[in-house]
Symmetry: C2
């Protein structure tokens, strides 16, 4: 089934120990859409400026991604510049020019209203909740957020969490959201705020999915998927969005949503994140084959499974 | 087959967010020996002072641990005081009184000379190498070390690494030892220094074992075992030594040492580490049953394995 992502499309300038790139296609919705496109049909709601080129549109179209929901507004496309130091763990933001993204009010095209899977990438929480409310037929909603909204708009975020099924955030965000330094305790507090499942991303250590009692099956046991030990991380930008794209894209490709399917989705999330960081920007995500994805899924399995 | 551990036996004062304890039995060799005792016969070489009580000796004896290698010296037993803040990630050392441990020169009793499995807990590297050299019949040697020796005695440590089979250290230690911030690259550098396999412990995220090409089987693929998401960590002291005890103890209980056995050993390491932190000091390690250990092994499997 098709999946709709609502979020940013951007131009990025990125510097890492492996080099520098300028004016490359970026944004959470872009990484998500490309990663998910290997699993299912993808639709995008975003905004770009008058400077957004046909070449960039072609990147989406070549992956069968429906971009009729990408609004073209007066002004410039969102631009972000970031640098990574040696440990690659955190981006230093060099600049953020929101441009047309500053007044982004997601409009869902009529032809998207039948979408069954929805991913709310990291935007202002009330906008996320509004999108969710206009989509009546949605079967599963995934959601991302960040420390900026957790700190700045906690009430709005709390309302959004009531209407999402799966929240995908990292360790620091989960702890901040729950006001709790122990990770599993933080997870259970966050599940109490609304979501049926919570994916906590641990960067190079993988990710854990925590379930609400009874959600998607029996029990409250978490499940952990690895990340690949990668010798050369060129550019960590978009790893989390690519993870979400693999996770949600795989879910949307399945008939049934049970625990086993969500566990496999967590593996596919790790797989797509691991590809994303191998090259700058979306380069690696643009050139994948389904065979390469399955081979890496197998590598992830061998990395963690006993005989 | 039996396993010999050479390391510290101590009295600890520990404060964590869960409370405080004073004068409890501690030391790397103690945690290691108790954890390993559920898998195989354990022998200990250590030194204690005149203050070391019969009650403490009984803790070892009740687990069938051979302590004829624990030397009783004039003076006081090694004492350590440590505190953990809210995140429990790192101990703040309140004091270290080396006492009789300061002049510890491990003597291997004649009746231990046939030992096939050896674990060199964290002591001065030259002492570790000397012990290894006196034990001619050893089949597999495991070794721990710490930042203090990596920084302070790098040449001595390099000599020790040439005569050990498996090194068990944490992320920060591996990166410091290899002068390399990328973990898999650091791992391969460390394997180049001597060991056949390297276990890197990631704390709450589990552990990864890296193999030298051809060591214990075919290929160079690493393997990752999880840690249990624990809601109440009472006291992290000894988690790493308990991990090593589970890992090495399981290896010593097996006839063949191949990759699959080392992978299972990594799981048992995580299992014993997860028990250790549930109560203060060695309390939980003293009261386990093999059934509880197998049940938790199963939990670790369910935490990571797809159907």
């Amino acid at each position: 089934m098709s999946i709709l992502v609502v979020g940013s499309v951007a131009y990025d300038d990125i510097t890492s120990p492996s080099g520098s790139v300028k004016n490359i296609l970026g944004g959470a919705a872009t990484y998500f859409a490309l990663a998910a496109s290997y699993f299912t049909e993808v639709r995008v709601v975003a905004v770009v400026g008058e400077d957004f080129g046909a070449d960039q549109e072609d990147v989406f179209r070549q992956h069968g991604i429906d971009i009729c929901g990408i609004e073209r507004a007066k002004g410039k496309t969102f631009r972000w510049g970031g640098s990574y130091a040696d440990n690659l763990n955190e981006a230093k933001t060099d600049y953020t020019d929101l441009n047309v993204f500053e007044t982004f009010h997601p409009q869902i095209p009529r032809e998207y209203e039948d979408t069954k899977f929805l991913f709310l990438a990291n935007i202002q929480p009330t906008l996320q909740a509004n999108v969710r409310r206009t989509m009546n037929g949605v079967r599963l909603t995934g959601c991302d957020t960040m420390n900026y909204w957790i700190k700045g708009t906690p009430k709005e975020l709390a309302e959004t969490l009531k209407v999402v099924d799966v929240l995908l955030i990292n360790d620091a965000e989960a702890k901040m959201l729950a006001h709790e330094s122990n990770l599993p305790r933080a997870a259970h507090k966050v599940l109490g705020m609304g979501p049926q499942a919570l994916v906590i991303k641990h960067g190079e250590y993988g990710a854990t999915i925590f379930f609400r009692e009874g959600a998607f099956g029996i029990g409250r046991h978490p499940f952990r998927a690895p990340a690949l030990p990668i010798e050369e991380v060129k550019d960590p930008t978009g790893a989390g969005d690519s993870f979400a794209g693999g996770f949600m894209g795989y879910l949307a490709s399945q008939n049934e949503l049970n625990r086993e399917v969500l566990k496999r989705a967590l593996f596919y999330g790790g797989v797509m994140g691991s590809f994303a960081v191998e090259r700058f920007g979306t380069e690696r995500l643009q050139s994948l084959t389904r065979d390469e994805i399955e081979a890496r899924f197998q590598t992830f399995r061998e990395l963690t499974h006993l005989e």
